[in-house]
Symmetry: C2
Amino acid sequence: MAAQIVEQATRLFAARGFVGASLQDIAKAVGIRKPSLLYHFPSKDDLRRSVLEQMLEHWNEVVPKILRAATSGHEQFDAIGEETIKFFSEDPDRARVLLRELLDRPDEMGPLVRKHVQPWTEVVASYIRKGQAQGRVHPDVDPEAYVSAVINLILSTIAVHAVVGPVLGGESSSSEAIQPRLLDEVLRVARSALFLPEPATPAALPRSS
Amino acid sequence: MAAQIVEQATRLFAARGFVGASLQDIAKAVGIRKPSLLYHFPSKDDLRRSVLEQMLEHWNEVVPKILRAATSGHEQFDAIGEETIKFFSEDPDRARVLLRELLDRPDEMGPLVRKHVQPWTEVVASYIRKGQAQGRVHPDVDPEAYVSAVINLILSTIAVHAVVGPVLGGESSSSEAIQPRLLDEVLRVARSALFLPEPATPAALPRSS
DNA sequence: CCTACCGATCGGTAGG
DNA sequence: CCTACCGATCGGTAGG
């Protein structure tokens, strides 16, 4: 039961925001009365925290899988981007709730981001630095800033795809499915802003032209 | 007076969202009573539309200046990015209000984006296509998707900088000013995802190596 | 898990 | 531009 409440709360918080989605609305979506909902979650704020907690829990399950696949090289960095995109696009409400919370409660989200996002950000950043030392990655990439930018890009692209997507394809393109064009371009942008174009054997084969 | 109301409404809508900011709050910030506010704006929704309108008005003043400077070439594309960043970072509340509206009212924002953003998106896209024909721009750039991605990137980076910025610099870095590191990297990502690395004289000087 | 109910606050109006 | 007031809805509680 608690799981269904969290599920519907996520849906409605994502669509209408925390203050915009009433306990009444959420209870009705679950099929119970408001006081029954307040038996499972003592307050609306407790429910909000549970929604975030469940999301970060799922995220923490997925992170090791992402990082394991990513030792180095082009394909592995693609894997990081693809898995991150998969996490958010298999339920865009995750991106919307997260973005809303970042806007609504920056002071509260700071520590949460520091706890759940910064660690793997630093792992990815260290891979980037290693890539720079090996001459595979652009030397002027700011590793931490790059990772932040790509996360922001993925998050916002998926969160607002319903309005930005249809603007691209003048066609019907129902407002439900995410346009692959957008996500493909996001990945391409992230990739080509990172890697040097040529294998570039910097010192190994000093064959001067 | 109406201008002060719109100004404070923008501030509070940006910080707390449309439903989270009450007419009471806004009136108090202006220094008048709620019914006086409702004399200038017949309803809260009218005030919301005025906030959006004023923002898009300012945006429309800035767009021609941006496009005029951008005929072609590297520096001109940088100018587009820099001016767009300037527009939002000189008042980050613009980015926040816009992002909130995209999340809150996708169906209403669709037409607005189509009207105010799509036209210049297509101008920029056509520059990109010209650059591709001349071999200056990566051939696998999807012009419209690229522009959408960069707008999303700028918008979200500025909107949530207060929480993402401090995560980067472990130092004090007060939560007010936007970290130049972030914006510099955003510009670098946008630039290096667009242009081919070399001048690459494709057919003009067929000096085979 | 429910019915019944609470004070507080919401957007908005009447009337001056 | 104000005071006074409206019905509706909010999150939450009592009590079973």
